[in-house]
Amino acid sequence: TTHSQDFLGLDYTKPTGLLHDAKYGDGVIIGIIDTGIWPESASFSDDGLGPVPSKWKGTCQTGQEFSSNQCNRKIIGARWYDKHLTPKDLEGEYRSARDANSHGTHVASTAAGALVPNVSFHGLAAGYARGAAPHARLAVYKACWGQGDCSEAAVMQAIDDAIHDGVDVLSLSLGLPSSEYYTSLHAVNNGIAVVFAAGNDGPAPRTVTNASPWVISVASATMDRAFPTVITLSNSTSNFVGQSLFYDTDDKNYNCCLFGTPETSNVTLAAGKIVLCNSPSSVSLISPTILPEAGAKGIIFAAYAFDILDAVESCGSMPCVLVDFEVAQQIKQSADENTALLVKVTAAQTWIGGEVLAPKISAFSSRGPSPLYPEFLKPDIAAPGSNILAAVKDSYKFKSGTSMACPHVSGVVALLKALHPDWSPAIIKSALVTTASNEKYGLPILADGLPQKIADPFDYGGGFINPNRLVDPGLAYDVDPKDYIALDCDSANSSCESAYKNLNLPSIAIPNLKQPTTVLRTVTNVGQADAVYKAVVQSPPGVQILVEPSILQFSLSKKKQSFKVTFSMTHKFQGGYLFGSLAWCDGGAHYVRIPIAVRPVHSSSSSFH
């Protein structure tokens, strides 16, 4: 967070923009359902904050090493749920809201941490740490324990308590494939915006979780920050550059190299050497513990993405460097030619902006469509979730995951709530999706994975979150909560199909386009009363889209307008998803864009699907 909030455009000192206009989120309560909190962290100082919002009806539950005076005007409430646990589950834990794991503290400080100067990880990523909504208040619900097990029963109790307590935003960085928190709808019905992490099972498709249509599902992205680490070979004048969190400034030469994977290397040969590893398919699987124990002096990983550098944080003062495959090959070639080759690794530096193409969707971020509900396009939005430096106990450490992306969005939602307290959770979600970015510097946003590609709506929904455009989205796709109840229908029934496809979401997904299909949507003018919008369609290849009417005229007395979108195939396609978009443009600042995903199906035979 020493850079992520700036990367989002939340400039702390700028006298305009969402952060300033929303008074830094003051008065808004963010509920965090996680592993608890470390109350002494500087990120949870309440200096400069006014009284606890009068709507707060929660409590500060005392417990082991957590007294009631550890709540303050920042941490306004804390509850914990241990009734389902056995004594064994509680080993190494605090029977209180105190965070033994550190995940909850990291997440809470990312959403609503106070401004903390001089934060870094051994000098890396130095700056001011802060949450997206630094004056928002925190309500802590500890439902996850130990290594991060969150009992569904406890999470439901936390949701129920949060509804009672009067939170405005609920942030949940947890989940399970093929499992949804339906009870979160009750929170939404009470006006609470619910934000979920989309999961870390990417880059494979159909892995997105927490995909209920009433929640905001968050994908992870990188930001324009890198930690270049120079590798010098003794037989070469040229340097190679990788990335690491290596911070030892004593330049040392190491013997190079043993080759293999962390699992297959003959560890007995690793002593005293740098080990050059082909990383597993996901760098998250790297477990750099065996090789240091065997006496290895360092590890160079060939990796296809650098979006989980904290996976090698445990290397400590031993150099663990991620390089691309080309660099790895060149090092291997040099080592093959010179068995006495020495390697020098220089401490990592921090690069910010300009030199790094960003954002990119993180390789680990779960991808759509939802295996349970392909009728609803998920995830909804992307935010920074790779290599985030945030509070861990009394210190600051890197973590990566959609867990880290989720609280960035929760914080931004809190800012929006402060500015527009009357906006429904559906309008807030609509504003997030329709104003999101799809490009930077005129280049499309990319998605890390195998291979890297241009990102599509199943990677990032509407795109990368753009807080300053959120302030004034122009139009919004609102949803009457009763329409969610209508989804509770028999899928064989045609009225059910209608309820699914016409649910007024800021996206359109048609998982089986067999014949011309019409979808209904309604937009509400939340901007200037007299406005005229024109449809701008980007059709998926081979699919024709007709919008009727194609011009929407709003006035003081006509704030809502409905329109039809008809999809038909121009060619006989079979199988994969195709992507497009529909935008309503007023010729000025408003470009209200929603993503479209269509899967044309020519044959009804499932074998062709």
């Binding site: 996680d34 592993t35 749920y81 009734k83 389902h84 794991n101 995940h103 996850c144 991060g148 097990d149 969150c150 009992s151 569904e152 029963a153 406890a154 999470v155 439901m156 109790q157 949701i159 129920d160 308590d161 509804i163 009672h164 960085s173 947890l174 989940g175 399970l176 494939p177 093929s178 499992s179 949804e180 339906y182 009870t183 709808l185 009750h186 929170a187 019905n189 009470n190 992490a197 989309a198 999961g199 870390n200 209920s212 295996p371 349970l372 509900y373 995951g401 959609t402 867990s403 989720c406 969610y484 109840i485 989804l487 509770d488 229908c489 899928s491």
Partner: protein, 116 residues
Amino acid sequence: STTKKLYVVYLGDKQHEDPEQTTASHHDMLTTILGSKEEAHDSIIYSYKHGFSGFAAMLTESQAQDIAGSINGAAELTPTTRGVDLTTPACFTASISIHYAASYLSIKPSSVHRLH
């Protein structure tokens, strides 16, 4: 089997404005199934009473089946329990259609979710 595990019972919208009344209704329901107030009191772990109605309780499989039967008259069970042994592995749930459960009464084993 007499082995107990944690089940989540979801009873939809709360029927009472007073949360204590909602909790009392959960105890009544469990007392009917388990046969005694004491056993109901000992079994119940969490009571959902503010935003919605339901509870989490330590139950045997047959007690869970009895609760499934008692709420089956009001609405269908969720796919997790519909026609499926309550001990069915989680992988089964992915292969069957799921309904939105906003107004859907259900009982299912409490699953363990992970941090992301």
